[in-house]
């Protein structure tokens, strides 16, 4: 019975991975964009769970907040706005190129497989470093915050400018009919 407790992390990982992959397949298999978006939501939540397993609790929370709380709501909003329900979305490919695509894909997969096999020796390092703040163990959120605001302050500010630009751009493009010269 204790087998369950000992292998708890593995059980959780493989079930979450299965959910995430099923969701991902759903994203490209469902015709209706709403169903595709929903199944992507499932994938995001499962990935957040995997983040927790990898001792990245802060990222898990941000993943749920940003992707589930923001990005996917935006997607659904736009899907309903453009009434994408009525638009057919058949998978498209040129039949002649299928063998070439399969071959290339297999080659790439082999390459990635070898890379993973070569890179993945040994056990993971001690997770303590993921929650160290100035030499004292505190918590993952604190550690990320420490790193973010000390070592990566400049990138952080740059990202905030990227977000600002994106926001302005989205507003400019989203406006109804901008007058001539207003937003060219």
């Amino acid at each position: 019975m204790t087998w369950f407790l000992v292998h708890f992390a593995e059980i959780v990982f493989y079930s979450l991975a299965a959910v995430a992959l099923a969701g991902a397949v759903g994203v490209i298999a469902f015709r209706s964009p709403v169903h595709a978006a929903l199944s992507l939501l499932g994938t995001f939540l499962a990935v957040a769970g995997v983040f927790v397993l990898m001792q990245a609790e802060f990222l898990a929370a941000v993943q749920v907040l940003v992707y589930a709380g923001g990005v996917m709501v935006l997607f659904l909003f736009v899907i309903m706005l453009v009434k994408a329900r009525d638009i057919p979305d058949e998978p498209q490919y040129v039949r002649r190129l299928v063998p070439a695509a399969v071959g290339l894909g297999a080659l790439l997969a082999a390459l990635v497989g070898v890379g993973i096999w070569a890179a993945s020796g040994g056990l993971p390092a001690d997770g303590a470093a993921l929650r160290m703040v100035a030499g004292a163990p505190l918590g993952n959120t604190e550690a990320v915050g420490w790193s973010l605001y000390r070592d990566y302050l400049l990138p952080f500010e740059v990202v905030s400018i990227v977000l600002l630009v994106a926001m302005i751009g989205a507003i400019v493009m989203g406006r109804k009919e901008s007058g001539r010269g207003g937003a060219a």
Partner: protein, 350 residues
């Protein structure tokens, strides 16, 4: 706790059952009190037929909804239509897993904590999980294949996403003062500080609660279900148990917002001025009050304010609602965040 099964499975399971039952009961009786209090505010009597003074009304309502026919519109998107109520209830109940109702106490020699778990990302967890609740509303509105439902769902999505921003910003001021994301630590920090955070964070407190009202789609922000324009908004087509789920989620969400406001701004289970009046609270006449009673009292006060709002304010227009969110609350909460940050820097916070 020699047996790992007891610590790992049995105790959490018992806690889950207790918390779920309590929340569902509170939500059910919340609807009763709402009708009763509104009635008194409007000089009526309110429900008084079922049981003594109408006290069994919520039970009767629940039974009625349980046995009612479940109607699915002919051209509805079946699966999503079913998923909507589930997605709206599950996050509302999930949030209760991290809300601390009281401090740890001893029971039969074991240390028992009256909350399911204390995670170190507590408040982020709550914000994240409650943002998932939007899907239930949008999807329910979309899947019903009804113009009114759709409008209600879209309005609600816009409203929830807009008001989440000032809400998050006002929560950040508390994090600045408490130096932690864990809800238990936030309450303990308020004990250390000797003052509830709503005094230094009065602006944040106000913004949080108003945004909380908007997030739960309640008066005066109940545009998604404005009956004079949208029939019943996103749940127009829902009946029976599925409607009951939307109903339950709305009231559970009110309890959630009230509980979080209690924990963040009103010192959770602490009595007023826990240090300054410590001698008073230790008096035999008052010492018997369990901490959880303080929590419930504060939560009930917030719930009353919800009903009070409903009895008092007329509904906003949608553009007014958006203006209020984006042009008033977000700038004010940003300025407030900077002010509190400066204060913490100068005075030292904690």
């Amino acid at each position: 706790m020699a047996n790992p099964w007891v610590a790992f499975l049995l105790v959490p399971l018992i806690k889950i059952v207790v918390i779920l039952l309590a929340v569902i009961l509170i939500a059910a009786y919340m609807s009763f009190f709402e009708r009763k209090i509104l009635a008194y505010m409007q000089i009526r009597i309110g429900p008084n037929r079922v049981g003594p003074r109408g006290w069994l009304q919520p039970i009767a309502d629940a039974l009625k909804l349980l046995v009612k026919e479940d109607i699915v519109p002919a051209r509805a998107e079946k699966f999503v239509y079913f998923l909507g109520p589930v997605l709206v209830v599950a996050p509302a109940l999930l949030v209760f897993s991290v809300i601390p109702f009281g401090p740890a106490f001893k029971l039969f020699g074991y240390e028992v904590t009256p909350y399911l778990t204390d995670v170190n990302i507590g408040i982020l967890f709550i914000l994240g999980v409650s943002s998932v609740g939007v899907y239930g509303v949008i999807l329910g509105g979309w899947a019903s294949n009804n113009k009114f439902s759709m409008m209600g769902g879209l309005r609600s999505a816009a409203q929830l996403v807009s008001y989440e921003v000032p809400m998050g910003l006002s929560v950040v001021t508390v994090l600045l003062m408490a130096n932690s994301l864990s809800l238990v630590k936030i309450v303990e920090a308020q004990k250390q500080a000797g003052v509830w955070y709503f005094i230094p964070g009065i602006v944040a407190f106000f913004i949080y609660f108003v945004c909380g009202v908007a997030e739960t789609n309640r008066n005066p922000f109940d545009l998604p279900e404005a009956e004079s324009e949208l029939v019943a908004g996103f749940h127009t087509e829902y009946s029976g148990m599925k409607f009951a789920f939307y109903f339950l989620a709305e009231y559970a969400n009110m309890v959630v917002v009230s509980s979080i406001a209690t924990v963040l701004f009103l010192g959770g289970w602490l009595p007023p001025f826990p240090n300054w009046l410590a001698a008073v609270w230790a008096l035999p006449a008052l010492a018997w009050i369990p901490p959880i009673a303080w929590f419930v009292l504060k939560m009930a006060a917030f719930l009353f304010v919800y009903i009070w709002f409903r009895g008092t304010f007329p509904r906003y227009r949608f553009d007014q609602l958006m203006d209020l969110g984006w042009k008033v609350f977000i700038p004010v909460s940003l300025v407030n965040l900077m002010a509190v940050g400066l204060g913490v820097l100068l005075i030292g916070g904690k």
